[in-house]
């Protein structure tokens, strides 16, 4: 049952991923990408990470994609009437397939060798996923958390500088 569910969701993810790459109209690419994000959020739920699934939908599908769709509408980008692909298209596809084959090889022969931790599904259900993330983030990873504040400040400054009409 689980396998069937995973296969369906995975197939939809891959198909919408391919649609992102091949659609003529950028809006169709954007909508396929939103579908991909939702499918990946579903996969997060099956991986016992419900909080991350919620954040994925909020941040990626809710904020980033809205921004992208805004920009597409603002710049009035039409369907590509000419060629969609660059002149290096064939090389790019070949390189991509090579990468896929190599990664397949690597991953098929791999095994999970990492240090096993203590957080099992029962623990997640008992303590609560959000609380576990909070415990980890604000003790082990406090500094990266603070660095993201600087990152967001830089992004704000940059966005304003580059697009404000009259500075």
């Amino acid at each position: 049952m689980e396998t069937i569910f995973f296969t369906i969701v995975a197939a939809v993810t891959v198909l919408s991923g391919i649609m992102v790459v091949t659609c003529r109209n950028p809006i169709n690419s954007a909508l396929s990408l939103i579908l991909t994000f939702f499918c990946i959020a579903t996969l997060y739920v099956t991986l016992d990470a419900p909080f991350m699934a919620a954040v994925q939908v909020l941040v990626y599908a809710g904020a980033i994609m809205v921004l992208i769709v805004f920009v597409i509408m603002l710049l009035n980008i039409r369907s590509e009437v000419g060629r969609r692909y660059t002149h290096a298209g064939i090389i790019g596809t070949v390189v991509g397939f090579l990468m896929l084959v190599l990664t397949f090889n690597f991953l098929n022969n791999s095994s999970l060798t990492g240090a096993k931790g203590l957080i099992t599904t029962d623990v997640i259900n008992k303590i609560g996923h959000t609380e576990l993330i909070a415990r980890s983030m604000f003790t082990d990873f406090l500094l990266p958390f603070e660095i993201t504040s600087i990152l967001l400040l830089v992004a704000i400054i940059g966005a304003v500088i580059l697009s404000k009409k009259k500075i």
Partner: protein
């Protein structure tokens, strides 16, 4: 329980699709969307590892990758708007002022 391999293979496929998209598309916004696809496949890898290793580190990393993606989206789209204002196009084939 579903094996880890399925998730890893799925993310490898998504990563390659995204990488191919970056290399072959001409529209800068679509290229950026393919980069987001690559980052999402990495997120899936992290969370899959996090589940099967019984660790929280992977999920925290995903948190930060999402933040980075949001920040990059803001700046990248601002750059594209600035480019468009001057050149009326966001085709990467039009990035041709500087060549060999």
């Amino acid at each position: 329980m579903l094996s880890l391999h399925s998730y890893l293979i799925l993310s490898a496929i998504l990563f390659s699709i995204g990488a191919i998209g970056v290399l072959i598309r001409r529209n800068a916004i679509v290229i950026f969307m393919c980069v987001e696809l690559m980052l999402n496949s990495v997120n899936l890898t992290f969370i899959a590892f996090s589940k099967y290793l019984g660790n929280m580190d992977g999920q925290i990393f995903v948190f930060f990758v999402m933040t980075v993606a949001a920040a990059e989206a803001a700046v990248g789209l601002a750059l594209m708007i600035a480019f468009y204002k001057n050149r009326e196009s966001i085709d990467v084939e039009d990035l041709n002022l500087m060549k060999w």
